[in-house]
Amino acid sequence: MTATFSIGVDIGGTFTDCVVVSEERVVTGKVPTTPHDRSIGFFGAIEDAARNLGLSLSELLGRTSRILHGTTTGVNAVVSRTGAKVGLVTTAGHGDVMLMMKGAGRTTGVIADMVMDEVATRRKPAPFVTRAFTAEIEQRMDRDGDVVVPLDEEKARWKIQALLDKGVESVAISLLWSVKNPEHERRLADIVRELAPDVFVTCGSDLVSRVGEFERTVTAVFNAYIGPLMVRYVDAIVSRAQELGYQGQVLFAQSAGGAINADEAKVAPVLTMQSGPVSGVMNSAGFGLLHDESNIITTDVGGTTLDVSVIRRGEPLMRDSIVFDRFEMAMPMLDIESIGAGGGSIAWLDESGRLNVGPRSAGADPGPACYGRGGTEPTVTDADVALGLIDPGSFLHGTVTIDPELSKAAIERVGSKLCMDVYATAAGINRLVDAKMADLIRRVTEFRGHDPRTFALLAFGGGGPVHAAAYARGSGVRRVIVPSPELAPVWSAGGAANLDIVHMYFEPVSLRLPTGPNELEKRFAALEGKARARLAAYGFAPEQISVARAVRMKHTMQIFDVEVPVQGAIRSEADVDQIDRDFTAVYEERFGHNSGSRASGVQITGLQLRARGVWARHAGPSSRGCETVEPTWSSRPVYWEETGGFADTPVLRMQERAGARVDGTIAGPALVEFPNTVIVIRPAQNGWFDDAGNFIIDVFPDRGE
């Protein structure tokens, strides 16, 4: 009994999922999320998994080498506006930066479909910091980091004290051009610490190294806003784990596609804000590596949203910013797009009598009409129930009681106004939501220069397996993979269990090509030294550390900069020429043939480094094949929109055991049921289990390869 485990925990809005991985097996745990104190659910989910292993909580923890955690604690505080009272310290004359929001505060991050709808009435979000809590400090750097106005520390001290006197619980310091010279920010941070040692303090330049004061200030303010509660949260989890006998590290998923340790999470909690979907994407990338799928579209269908991302040549696409409540925050993160389309999305009629689905969601409370908790508006889940896709008896392990009559009544209320019967309406709701999801998949791929037909689509989250066959068809994707179906609904937690440590570095530069190799190499080497030292402190041996260099490049007259990977050291002019050639290739792949304006010149705008500390990982059982079992078939009537009516449909019922599979091809229409999800194979599609127990759907079997 020397087996060791790694544990991934993912706290969602409704449930807290846990996945325990060892060489032999994968076990899951699931408990309701405990919003008043999420750490209770955290250990509850682990305990649930431990029970499934026949162990006590402390027995499991005693044999666990790593706990990785994707938390929504930070993002929830931002969304529900329950964070700390933040004081903002900024450059005189620029104290309104958070209020002005670059003039785009009404529409930033609002999906194009909705901008026009409310163009006259939409307002800016409430501010996170008002003027009364902003201290404008007389100091100024210029774009080279040269001091234009020196910092008067005495005056600054007085202004900061005035902020503290107003009872601020944390302080964000964000000055113009601190990205080029952080000296004044550091001095001011020292002053804050001197005056109030217990107050959480954060500097923009420590979090973001890109030009653009608004996004950097937002990042600093969000960090300060969630800082105090994240410090408490991390401490609570770490100390409780230690009490229970755990001796390893508690690691936290972060938005760039990896993990950081507890100390880093306490200094820069903002990095954890977008970590929920990240774990799912990284699990998909790991899946791709294992199964030789280098081009993957990931689709995570939850109760409220669909999250889509693209993995290209094994690497998830990245982006530089994310919007929360129309505040744009700068940080390197996985490029994940979301729309309000999920199981809880509500179907409704607009003023012109047209049927719409989402973006409003019934959420977990009241939830879909069929939950019987007071929801009267029909949702996508209600449509799934009415059509017979979801078996009311076994939904979510039977933890939720489903009443199909409530679904039908809710759907009928909408359908009757369209002169459509309940089933045609339910099928219509599904067609609309599937079309919406397909539109997003096309946008996420085609708008980034990729052809969805050349990608495999990974479907996970509770609703992914139910709807993937339809939205894949709508977007032209040919192959759907439901990875380890019994784990698909807890895919994100499973991903968290395997996250590597990832640190991102960025240094803004402005170098026109041609440029000599020495300057570039010198700067990269310095970044790399810093990165390796930091990972060595985690205990990684040099061979466990991988470092990927890239430059950000653009054409001078055009606005897009792209990430160009740099292979190895830059020693000669020829190496720089290679970077230039690679730039053209990358640029054209993304923006189209002949889209670059080379005549105006080419420049490097930044150096980027991704440092990864790679764990010896538990591959889990799926790497070693799985057990073939005898199929258990039954059937039930299911409504198929393609044929316009109910058909007695074969249902394959799978047990709750990781890695079980059955032989043979299943012709659609058919359902494959697992305890917590169901895979839908549409008419004229085929599906089968691969050798590793993943379920594959051929979306267009008629088209061949």
Binding site: R140, V211, A427
Partner: protein, 809 residues
């Protein structure tokens, strides 16, 4: 030749109900001409001298076959799926333009549009970018059908280009690229984009030529040419077009982007045709038009019939002093809106005039936003409920070869159209009133700095400050401070660091300007103020572009005051560099002024050199207020002062709210407000047709604007003061006849907000703020900026006794 619009299929006449899309009302009636028969008779409206106004019937040669058939029984789900698929066609079209061109105008400012048109040119759906192009894209397509179908012909694989303002673009910089989409040899639809090009030739870099006396001195306008012939780009045409530009490489790249967009959009429409068939897709298009027309008609029914007009007086570049009249009228009849330009001054020998296309588009944009907000963007449906009364030869609707390149009256006309429609819709249902907003942002006046850094590299600063914007007040709430420009909802003003990175300059401050929003019961949103100095520059220059902002029109609604119009100021030999080195950093205009002394107003249109110690101080145009500021809830004022959006001085001066240690002194406030009203009445002229009586509360039909009620009395429908019930006038008369009128210099009303007309305008014109008050209680009913002697306009629709409106709340 056959009559397009009546004979589309194999020479067989179509019934009215099958008529081409958008030319029929939803109940199947053939649509009328968009201009009256009398106007049509003034000459050929073909774009040669008079601008192009498409007729009901367009003649095309018989070998051009149309695919105009459609299903009427599409199921509601397929309809919705197709509606969003079409929406995504425009998104894909926009995306391709952005990605291939990578141009700042397109990518940052969203200064472009995409659209899908029916076979006859009607605009079915516009994409979500610069809304200004929404109401004119169809004009170019229809002109092409009329004038190019015979020679050089319209065939599959062709792409056309034009930038002729007399056909249908805003100005020559906005280049339209569009293509027919054929299905089985028949013309099924068109895809279209219009995008701002950095330079297309003409006397001035950037192609804005304020001093052009006619169009021959501006960039060449290109009537429709075939840029791509059967799939092959015509090198001769492309070369010719690119050769005209100072930025040829950029122009070519952007055209390539537009062509990539055409490809993407065409491919997507073909996919739809393959998947659903042309009859279903066209049926969905038709139904979108019908839904939109029905929504607009339904909403218009809540508004009383009547007429309304508004005139703005504006200076022009290089000649601010003389004021010119720009007018819009609306006649509302049943479910129809008739927009006119009556009252506009004759066109000017300057590059400032508007055209029919921009007059029409401004009206369509306004109507789309205020009446069809939930229909995505379907101009054909909106146009179905609109007619136009253009006065050719005016600065609103110039005739060729009038110069147009700076778009001054084009952009102002768009703002004015929205304003006058807003006034009309204030009399409608609350749903309409909620979308009404006072004017904001103005003409986009700005200063474009350029020069060289110490290393000699040339640079231009981006002029995005103007897009920081704000929104005007509405009947239900305040405007929003620094909240973007309403006509370009997705763009913004960028970061200071990004601007400084691209140019040798430094912002001393960039912040919200307190008090800049127009005071009112609900106040207008504040705009920003900035101060800039040259920094690490070898040479640094600035060029004011557009109008002098101090004469921007940003009127309020229903007695709300106008917003701060904007100001360009400068200070040479300011001593700022020494102050900075000494650790002093002034953080607002107020602090700066106390440090370096007063500024000089800038009015020049010429480049000027910014010396090392010169400060440019720019205040951006803000937005108007709603309702009498003396009726604003004092606690809102208190909050504004606490938040720093309104100063304590303005609280007292504009709102008559007395604050003691930041808290309201209720008693003193009530006294001061009463005194202000008495002072108004003492200074005001008595009504020209006073009605001494008061109405009873039970006689009020509904509140229609600020403090004006529409009432039903024994004497028939009357306008009455909503505050005290004083009768103003019969509803079929201008209520202003029963109101007291106070005329004063705007400067006297609030010197910080409005410039002294004596210092700005020709002294022969006395520029005034007309303030109409209730003759009994002194509450402000409306405010109108005007020149002394201008006729009074109808601010509210005059309700016709023949058609008493039954308004449903």
């Amino acid at each position: 030749m056959r009559m397009y619009g009546r004979t589309l299929r194999n020479g067989e006449p179509m019934t009215a109900a099958e008529g081409p899309l958008g030319h029929v009302t939803p109940d199947g009636q053939l649509r009328e001409d968009e201009i009256s028969a009398a106007t049509r008779a003034q000459g050929p409206w073909d774009g040669s001298r008079l601008p192009w106004v498409p007729p009901v019937s367009i003649q095309t040669p018989s070998d051009l076959l149309f695919d105009a058939e459609f299903d009427t029984d599409i199921d509601p789900v397929t309809y919705q799926v197709l509606r969003y698929r079409l929406w995504n066609v425009n998104l894909a079209h926009s995306d391709a333009i952005k990605r291939v061109s990578g141009a700042p105008y397109v990518c940052y400012l969203d200064d472009f549009s995409t659209s899908i048109h029916a076979e006859n040119g009607d605009t079915i759906l516009c994409g979500p970018s610069m809304v200004y192009f929404v109401g004119l894209a169809d004009l170019g397509v229809k002109w092409t059908l009329q004038h190019r179908a015979g020679n050089p012909g319209i065939h599959a694989g062709d792409v056309f280009l034009h930038n002729d303002p007399y056909i249908g673009v805003t100005h020559q910089n906005d280049v339209a690229v569009f293509a027919p989409v054929f299905h089985d040899g028949r013309l099924f639809a068109w895809v279209y984009s219009g995008a701002h090009q950095a330079d297309v030739g003409g006397a001035e870099p950037g192609s804005w030529c304020p001093n052009a006396t006619d169009m021959y001195q501006e960039a060449q306008p290109w009537p429709v040419v075939k840029l791509v012939d059967g799939g092959e780009v015509r090198g001769d045409i492309l070369g010719l077009f690119v050769r005209h530009s100072r930025a040829g490489a950029q122009v070519e790249l952007q055209l390539r982007g537009q062509l990539a967009g055409i490809d993407a959009a065409t491919r997507r429409i073909r996919e739809l045709l393959d998947e659903y068939g042309p009859r279903v897709v066209k049926g969905a298009m038709r139904r979108m038009v019908a839904d939109t027309a029905a929504a607009v008609a339904r909403r218009l029914e809540t508004v009383p019939d009547g007429e309304i007009a508004e005139t703005w007086r504006m200076g022009i570049p290089g000649d601010f002093a003389r004021l010119h009249r720009l007018s819009r009228t609306i006649r509302k009849e049943g479910d129809l809106l008739v927009f006119g330009t009556r009252g506009s001054d004759p066109q000017l020998p300057k590059g400032v005039n508007g055209t029919y296309a921009t007059f029409r588009s401004g009206a369509v944009v306004a109507a789309s936003m205020l009446l069809a907000w939930d229909q995505l963007y379907c101009p054909a449906g909106v146009l179905n409920q609109m007619r136009f009364e253009p006065d050719a030869g005016t600065l609103s609707v110039a005739t060729h070869p009038g110069a147009v390149s700076t778009q001054l009256f084009t952009v102002a006309g768009m703002h004015l159209s929205r304003n006058v429609l807003s006034r009309l819709l204030m009399t409608g249902s609350d749903d309409l009133r909620a979308r009404v907003r006072a004017a904001s942002v103005g003409q986009g006046s700005t200063i474009v700095p350029s020069g060289q850094g110490l290393d000699g590299s040339a640079s231009y600063a981006n002029f995005w400050d103007v897009l920081m914007g704000s929104t005007g007040a509405s009947p239900f709430d305040d405007g929003e401070d620094v909240a973007g420009a309403w006509f370009s909802p997705s763009s913004g003003g960028g970061n200071v660091e990004e601007i400084e990175a691209s140019a040798p300059m430094l912002y001393l401050y960039r912040r919200e300007r307190a008090d800049s929003g127009g005071p009112g019961c609900f106040r207008g949103g504040n705009s920003i103020e900035v101060a800039q100095i040259a920094h690490k520059a070898r040479v640094w220059m600035a060029q004011p572009v557009g109008n002098d902002p101090s004469i921007n029109a940003v009127p309020g609604l229903a007695g709300g005051l106008p917003g701060f119009p904007g100001a360009w100021e400068a200070k040479t030999a300011s001593g700022i560099l020494a102050a900075l080195a000494d650790g002093r950093l002034p953080a607002s205009r107020r602090e700066l002024e106390s440090l370096v002394g007063p500024f000089e107003r800038l009015t020049s249109q010429d480049y000027f050199i910014c010396g090392d110690d010169m400060i440019l101080v720019l205040g951006q145009t803000s937005s108007g207020g709603y309702g009498d500021p003396l009726t604003r809830n004092p606690s809102f004022v208190e909050t504004d002062v606490e938040r720093g959006s309104v100063t304590a001085e303005a609280a007292e001066a504009s709102y008559a709210v007395v604050l003691v240690d930041g808290r309201i002194d209720q008693r003193a406030t009530a006294d001061l407000r009463a005194r202000r009203r008495r002072e108004r009445l003492a200074a005001a002229a008595a009504p020209v047709a006073p009605r001494p009586g008061h109405v009873e509360p039970g006689e009020v039909r509904r509140r229609v604007s600020g403090m004006i009620d529409l009432t039903d009395t024994a004497d028939g429908p009357l306008w009455a003061c909503g505050d005290c019930g004083r009768q103003l006038a019969p509803a079929d008369e201008n209520y202003r006849r029963g109101a007291a009128l106070l005329e004063s210099s705007p400067h006297a009303v609030r010197p910080e907000l409005y410039p002294d007309p004596e210092a700005v305008f020709d002294p022969s014109v006395r520029f005034v703020l007309r303030q109409w008050c209730c003759p009994s209680c002194g509450v402000l009913l409306s405010i109108e900026p005007a020149a002394e002697g201008d006729p009074w306009l109808n601010e509210m629709p005059t309700i016709r006794p023949s058609a008493p409106a039954e308004v449903t709340a």
